[in-house]
Structure formats: C-alpha cells, structure tokens
C-alpha cells in the first residue's frame, strides 16, 4: 500500500514536471553548451508537428511549399482532400483518395498522422474553426473505418487561418476547403 502510494506520488511529481515543463529560452550555444543539447528544433516543441500548417505559419513559410527544408518534417506522401462550401461530407472521389492514403498509412506503421481541417476565407472565424474540426473528424472516422488504428490519427482545425491560395474567388476557395495530412514519426 505504502509502496503504491510512493509510486503514485513519484508519478504525480514526474507528471507535474512533464506538464509544466520549462520554457526554453534562446541561449547562446557558445556560453552554454547545454543550450541546444537534445534539442532538435525549437518550433517542434509543445506538440507542434514539424511541417504542419501552424509550424509553417510560425516560420513564415508558404502553406503550399515543400517540407524539405523544415527540420524534422517528413515529406508527406498523403494527398489532400477538398470539400464543398460549408460541407464536411465525403464524396466518392474524396473516399478514393482517402483509400490510397489509408494504404500508405497501414503499410507505414512507424508514423502517426495529424489530420488538419481547413476552410475558405468566407464566414465567421469561430464557426470556421468548428467546421474545420468536423472536416478533420469526418476524414479520421473514414480512415478508422478502413482499419487504421484510431490512436495513430489525431485531428486539429485551423479554420480559415492558413489558406494555400489567397485570392477571393471560387477556384481559390475550393483549394482552401481542405483536409491536409502531416506525417510524424511515432515515438
């Protein structure tokens, strides 16, 4: 009993340390050799996937660029799928793309997939964030139905915040109403 309590206490302390963490400050590597020890990339911390739309935004990179130059980013072999206006349902052509994606995902078990939901620029920010979330969940559910373990798939919505195309016309909007996939090595 006592042993169990001790273990629980240690676990709680470790959890607390893990959860609170320490804010990493940029330090001069010359004066502090530990500054970059074990640290591959400052933008990769705090659960931000290298090469994700948020990572690109933080780095000031275009959303439609290649992943090659981003440290830690895995060039994604997975294709985006595009949605109708205010829609989150999957059409047969979208399902066909997702089946191809699912093949790759099931053959490459060492990767986790982050499913990003995006919207076009029209409409309210909050509602678009909700809509992007539903698009991402809709894709995730289909991939799970195809046999991908749910724990390999996570979702996040960026609403209308990260367009790949910046003009105000339907051809641009239709490219922005998308689900994008980010591939991360499983830990």
């Amino acid at each position: 009993m006592v042993k169990w309590r001790l273990r629980a206490a240690v676990a709680v302390v470790l959890m607390a340390v893990f959860l609170t963490g320490c804010p990493r400050k940029p330090q001069d590597a010359d004066t502090d050799p530990w500054a970059r020890a074990g640290e591959t990339d400052v933008f990769g911390e705090d659960g931000i996937a290298p090469g994700s739309s948020l990572d690109r935004y933080r780095r000031g990179l275009p959303q439609d660029g290649a992943d090659g130059d981003i440290p830690g980013a895995v060039p994604s072999p997975l294709q985006d799928v595009y949605f109708g206006y205010d829609a989150s349902d999957l059409t047969e052509p979208m399902r066909a793309i997702l089946r191809t994606n699912a093949d790759w995902i099931s053959r490459n078990r060492n990767y986790r997939i982050e499913i990003e939901g995006h919207c076009d620029e029209r409409g309210t920010g909050d509602y678009n964030l909700a809509l992007g979330g539903r698009r991402a969940r809709s894709v995730r559910e289909y991939l799970v139905a195809l046999g991908i373990p749910a724990e390999r798939l996570s979702t996040i919505s960026y609403g209308k915040e990260f367009p790949v195309c910046h003009e105000s016309n339907e051809s641009c909007w239709s490219r922005n109403r998308r689900v994008h996939f980010v591939v991360r090595p499983a830990q």
């Binding site: 705090d46 659960g47 931000i48 996937a49 948020l54 935004y57 933080r58 000031g60 205010d86 029209r122 409409g123 309210t124 920010g125 909050d126 509602y127 964030l129 909700a130 809509l131 979330g133 539903r134 969940r137 996570s154 979702t155 996040i156 919505s157 960026y158 915040e161």
Partner: protein
C-alpha cells in the same frame, strides 16, 4: 464599489469621490472592503510598481467635483447620433504653469474629448482653427467668456477649462457651457499624473454625454482586439477608445484569437501557442498568461459570466464542439449543449441566466438561446442560412449577430425572443465580430469595407458608423470592455 459607480444625481449633492479606492478594489476586491492600512499600502506599492496599473493608480488621486448647478436645457435623447449632430466647440485648456510656458496636455485634452464626442455620433466638433477666443486670454467663468465669439462660429455648447501643471502632476478643471443661454451646465475637476490626461478627457466626454443625452457615454473604456499590425502573427492588443494608449498584450508568435474581458481587467483568449487551441487568461497586473482550458481540440470563445464567476466556451472534449460553463480555474461546471452539431460562440444574457450561441443543428448556422436551468434551446433567427457570432447587449434587450446576405456578411440585431430584426450594416465589405459598448448604445465590429479588415463602431441603429483603427495589418475580434472604473 458604490463609489465607483457613476451617479451624476448623487454627485450633485455629494461633491467629490475618489477613484483611488475603486481602482484598488479593481485590483483585489477584498482590499477595498475593510482592508487594514497595511494592506492598502502594500496594494498601493504593488500597483505602483505595475506597468499597467501604476499610471492608473497615480491618477487615482484624480478626483471629480461638481462646480455649478446642473440644469441642462438639452437633455434626453432628443437628438440621435448621425441624425442631427449637436455643434460643440472644445477650447484648448488655459495653461497655468509656474514658468508661464505652453503645455501639450492643454491641446491633448481638447483633442481627446473631441475625438470621443465625434465617435459618439451625437456631436459635430467645431474645428480649432475657427475658434476666435484665445484660451490664454480669457477666463472659464460665464462672466468672462465672450459667448458671441462662440455663437458666431455655430457652437451651441462650449468646453472650456484650465490645466495647472506642477512637474508631472496636472490639475484640470473642465466645464461645459450652454452658449445660447450663456451659462455653466456642469464642471469637473481632475488631478493626477500627466500620463492620465487621456482618461480624464475620456471621462469628461462621458460626462458631457450624460448631460446632453441623458446617459453616460461609453468612452472611458478599452477595446481588446486581434491584429497583425506587428507582423504576420495574430496577437492581442488593447487600446483606448480614442485609439491612443495602444499596448500589445500577447507575444505568442502563434495564432491568438477571440479576446474577451474579465471584470478585473484580465483577458481571456484562445491561442495555438502550444499547438492545440487552448483557452488562456492574461492578468495585466502580473503580466502572466495562464492556460485555463486545454481539452484536445478547440477550446474557443471563452467569455466571463456577468458576475465574473464562470466562463462559457465551446470545447471539443467529446468530439464536436459543445457549449460548456467552467469555473474560474477551467473546471467544467455544466454542459449547456451536448450534441453532434457545431455549437460555438456563447454570449451571456446580462442576468447570467441564459446563453446565446451559434449552432448548425438545423443544417446551417443559426442563433439559439439556452437557459442555464435546462430545457431545450430556442432558435431566435428565422431567416437566412448563415447566422453566427451572437453578442447579447448589456441592456438585455437585443442580440447582435452576423448574417450572410447576398454573399456578404452584415451585422443585425434581434430581440431575444426572435422578433424585430434590424439590419445594422449594409453595402460593400464583410462586417463581423460584433461587441457591445458598456452602455449598450454602440457596437464595435470589424469590416473590410475599405480594404483591409479594420475596426469600426456603429450606434445601435446603424445610422452612424465610424472607422476606429487605421494603418497596416488586419484588425479583428474587438472586445469592448466595461467602464474602467
């Protein structure tokens, strides 16, 4: 906190009151009620050293006193904003300095009073270059003012005053005169640090509104908003209503969205700082940002209940976003909605008993009202296929929202029972993010009507609309605070 309330009738007899106690109270409610001398001293020291409250506290010695009898001829809402604007002249203050020199604050006070009155839509401010009477060579008593010099340039009301400067301390005596009747309507004295001239001016503008429209103006308040003016990142900023005193609040270098005010001057917002869109609280006293709600997925649109005890927000902790109420530490107290639909953007009724929110449960986004006691939410928008962003007026009588009309987004208001829909904006551009002024007479919102997204205010009828922010970057999501005191 009675001393913090604005009460012209009470002050007519009461003489003066101190803002100091109310500001201390603002920092920590317990300190204003029965705090020992030591506590007050410690509080004062704490506040003095604070980058935000320090200047305010120094102004806290800013006192107001009534000078003359108040019996304005022009009272009540006999003229509406934008419809017939009341011509007012605001003279620069007469400077009283030991060295006899000029002082910028004399003009600054007049400029800010004028800007606020123009924003109200009720007034037309007669430009300085047409003033005839020199502030330095005239007095501020009815007997020593040449009213003919003001009536000939079309002024019906006149602001005159003095500013006595002693180092960084200023003492302002400001008065409003009826030019036609050649008499004093009311006056106020303010003193404090020079850095507080802005607030003195905004308070005086609110008082002029009280005298001439029957209700205190909303300008001694602040607007929090999201802007990309500092670069590519969306960060939260705070400014005074005249556009001055701009401060960048967040430096998250990420997406930061949807700011909302707490009663104590703190801010809630959602930030992707740690990857997931979590709800944070920023405390201006400590400068510390605390993560409050961080379920996996969206934690969005956090807004304090009117009494400040609870926060409503949309969270995806069970999949699709639902409206929940959490305590001040972010623990879920109540699930207001629990459905597969997208439920977002909660807004409290002023009595704290109901929440308006946006839901697509009927197939497209519409505005609903739910009672916190329970029961089914009622839909209050009947027309259109895209109605979002409800904002419940502090008066309680109307809910503002955004509706898509002909491919454009415009502000509307509706009674909480769904009747009497009024369109507030029209024309080109998209108008979004409505937020009510503390008096419920105005709406702040964002619009792309002139290109980049900028902040505007409109009176509740929409007849009067004015641009609030200029310059580079996009400004969005305005949140209008309550009155500062």
């Amino acid at each position: 906190m009675a001393e913090a309330e604005f009460a012209p009738d009470h002050m007519r007899h009461g003489g003066s009151y101190s803002l100091a106690r109310s500001l201390v109270g603002l920092g920590n409610r317990r300190c204003s009620i029965g705090a020992g001398k030591g506590d007050v001293g410690r509080m004062a020291k704490m506040i003095l050293w604070n980058r935000w409250l320090g200047p305010l506290f120094l102004a806290a010695v800013l006192t107001t006193a009534l000078i003359g009898p108040v019996d304005a001829q022009v009272r009540g809402t006999i003229f509406g904003p934008g419809v017939r604007q009341y011509p007012i002249a605001i003279s620069d203050l007469k400077v009283i300095r030991p060295d006899g020199g000029p002082d910028d604050a004399a003009m600054q006070f007049a400029d800010i009073v004028g800007r606020a009155l123009e924003l109200s839509g009720h007034f037309r401010v007669i430009p300085r270059n047409s003033h005839i009477e020199s502030p330095q060579r005239s007095g501020i008593d009815a007997e020593s003012i040449s009213f003919a010099d003001w009536s000939v340039i079309g002024a019906l009301a006149l602001v005159k005053g003095t500013i006595a400067v002693d180092g960084e301390q200023v003492r302002i005596e400001a008065r409003l005169f009826d030019v036609f009747q050649r008499r004093l309507l009311f006056g106020r004295n303010y003193h404090g640090n020079r850095s507080n001239v802005r607030r003195m001016a905004l308070r005086f503008a609110d008082e002029i509104m009280a005298q001439l429209t029957g209700e205190r103006g909303p300008f001694d308040s602040r607007i929090a908003f999201v802007s990309t003016r500092g670069g590519r990142f969306k960060e939260v900023y705070v400014m005074s209503l005249d556009g001055g005193d701009l401060r960048q609040v967040t430096f998250n270098q990420s997406l930061t969205l949807s700011p909302a005010w707490g009663l104590d001057g703190s801010l809630l917002y959602t930030s992707y700082q740690r990857g997931n869109p979590d709800l944070y609280r920023y405390d201006p006293r400590s400068g510390i940002q605390t993560r409050l709600v961080h379920h996996r997925g969206l934690n969005l649109g956090g807004t304090y209940s009117p009494d400040g005890s609870r926060i409503a927000l949309a969270t995806e902790d069970r999949g699709s976003p639902n409206i929940v109420v959490v305590d001040r530490d972010g623990r879920i107290l109540q699930r207001v909605t629990d459905s597969w639909a997208l439920d977002v953007s909660p807004s409290w009724s002023p009595d704290g008993g109901e929440l308006a929110f946006c839901s697509d449960r009927a197939g497209n986004p519409q505005i609903y009202v739910a009672e916190l006691r329970g029961g089914a939410a009622r839909r209050i928008t009947a027309t259109g296929t895209y109605n979002t962003s409800p904002a419940w007026s502090p008066r309680g009588d109307r809910i503002a929202y955004v509706s898509r009309v002909g491919g454009r987004f415009h502000l509307f208001t509706v009674r909480p029972d769904g009747t009497d829909v009024k369109q507030i904006t029209s024309g080109g551009g998209d108008n979004e993010d409505p937020s009510w002024s503390p008096d419920g007479r105005y709406l702040a919102f964002s619009s792309t009507r002139s290109g980049a997204r900028k902040l505007y205010i409109a009176d509740a009828s929409g007849a009067f609309q004015v641009q609030l922010t200029q310059g580079g970057g996009d400004d969005s999501s305005p949140a209008w605070s309550r009155w500062i005191d």
